[in-house]
């Protein structure tokens, strides 16, 4: 092991980490925005409206993210119509292709999380709101949305971690994210173990920070539950 290589190239790795964070943040925000209508359509009482998001979610959860990235980045260029269209300046850029693929992917997963949360709110709470005379908007703003938010949080935190790990795939379409940067450095220095382990450590630190932030938000969001006493399960 040669630590001096890691020290020398550490600033470059941090540059890569910054690109990874941008990829994750943009896809999570865009994916979350798409996920809400998909989730609402998914629980629609009309069968054919339900079928479309079902197929969408099934496709994006049932195929590897790598295939999805290649479909967007390499696949789109097969059609002359795409290359001549106004979208080509965007679809030519690996960064935006990665954003598109990640957004589609994470919106499918997030939609399922939202659906679960909406369906998890007990019917009694809706009835209680109506009994005390709240309007529909008040009911959503004061009770249903904050409740759904509290239910969604743990799963949503997980989804962000999964997206962070998935963002490493951006390196396969020439993006210099943390993994891509590590591979570029290794091509020059021939020290795969040192650089890959350093990159792994940076990913680990980012995950730990995300987990810590979400734990704080969760505590704040669920503070109305009072001090939680966590029961330690019996062993064996």
């Amino acid at each position: 092991m040669d630590i001096s290589v890691v020290i020398e190239y550490f600033p470059r790795l941090l540059e890569g980490a910054w690109v990874s964070l941008q990829l994750v943040a943009l896809s999570i925000v865009l994916g979350g925005a798409f996920a809400l209508p998909i989730a609402l359509a998914r629980i629609s009482p009309v069968a054919w409206i339900r079928a479309i998001p079902f197929a969408y979610i099934f496709f994006f959860r049932g195929t590897p993210l790598l295939v999805q990235i290649f479909l967007v980045y390499y696949g789109a260029s097969q059609f002359d119509a795409v290359r001549e269209s106004m979208f080509w300046p965007i679809l030519r850029e690996p960064f935006w292709c990665a954003i598109i693929a990640f957004t589609l992917n994470t919106s499918a997963y997030t939609a399922e999380i939202f659906r679960g949360a909406i369906q998890a709110i007990p019917q009694g709470e809706v009835e209680a709101c109506k009994v005390v005379g709240m309007t529909r908007v008040q009911m959503y703003r004061r009770v249903l949305l904050p409740r759904a938010f509290g239910i969604v949080l743990p799963a949503y935190g997980n989804e962000i971690i999964l997206m962070l790990k998935g963002s490493a795939l951006a390196s396969t379409i020439t993006i210099l994210d943390l993994t891509g940067m590590a591979r570029t450095i290794i091509a020059r220095t021939y020290t795969p173990m040192e650089i890959f382990i350093a990159a792994g450590a940076i990913y680990l630190i980012i995950s730990i920070v995300i987990i810590a932030i979400f734990r704080q938000i969760e505590l704040r969001q669920n503070r109305y539950l009072g001090t939680l006493s966590i029961k330690v399960p019996d062993k064996g």
Binding site: G62, T63, F70, L71, I161, A168, S171, G200, K235
Partner: protein
């Protein structure tokens, strides 16, 4: 009919490699998961720390990075070990072996949590009853505890297998001839990326559906001893 330019056979061969990789990794991962869960519930602090470190590290870094680290690292680690025994020929770890180790490690880390939950879900009375009947710890484990743990853990393990199946695509990055790489080869000679990646996507989707059917059959089978109502 879609024209695959004669690459259909190649893609099917790739599918066989993908399935083999998934099954071998599943086997390695299940063993690691059971060991990890036992270590996490162990009364020895050192074992608990090792298991905790293992699951935290593996779950915190991208699967692609794990594959790359194992692929590039296993060779140097193996050569260092072989060097201790006076063997200094060049040893190379192939993409398939590296894939099995990397995906097995990943599956094992997540399976550790699933098995831990399942082990904790077995009521204490079951342990006591087995002991009262005079069973030793090993017999108690495979006759009484394991079948019940299996039933509780199956849905979780089924989900993990679906994730594993999709993660096999990552091993194509280090040159394994799976569905993904066969698709890459077809694309480079036909210049029809959309077609071949879409076919690859549907092959993965088909494998996912087959696995889901199989897991639900296994779940039914595992709970056949359970009366409902």
């Amino acid at each position: 009919m879609i024209n695959l330019h004669g690459f259909g056979d190649q893609l099917l061969q790739g599918a066989v490699v993908t399935i083999e990789l998934a099954l071998y990794s599943l086997f390695v991962g299940l063993i690691l998961g059971l060991l990890g869960a036992s270590a996490k519930l162990s009364s020895y602090k050192v074992l608990r720390w090792i298991a905790h470190g293992y699951t935290t590290i593996i779950r915190g870094i991208p699967e692609l990075l794990t594959v790359l680290i194992i692929y590039f690292g296993a060779t140097s680690v193996l050569m260092a070990i072989a060097g201790l025994f006076g063997y200094d020929e060049y040893i190379e770890v192939g993409a398939f072996a590296a894939g099995v180790i990397a995906l097995g490690l990943t599956f094992g880390a997540y399976a550790t949590e699933v098995f831990r939950g399942a082990l904790q879900a077995i009521p204490k009375g079951q342990h006591e009853a087995a002991t009262a009947l005079g069973m030793g710890p090993i017999r108690k484990f495979y006759r009484i505890i394991l079948p019940q743990v299996w039933r509780v853990a199956l849905p979780g393990l089924g989900n993990l297998f679906l994730v594993l199946l999709k993660d096999t695509a990552l091993v194509s990055v280090v040159g394994l001839d799976d569905i993904m790489r066969k698709a890459n080869i077809a694309v480079s000679s036909t210049k029809e990326p959309f077609l071949f990646y879409l076919v690859a996507a549907f092959m993965y989707l088909a494998l996912t559906i087959i696995s889901m059917v199989f897991v639900s059959y296994m779940e039914k089978r595992a709970s056949r001893g359970l009366t409902r109502g």
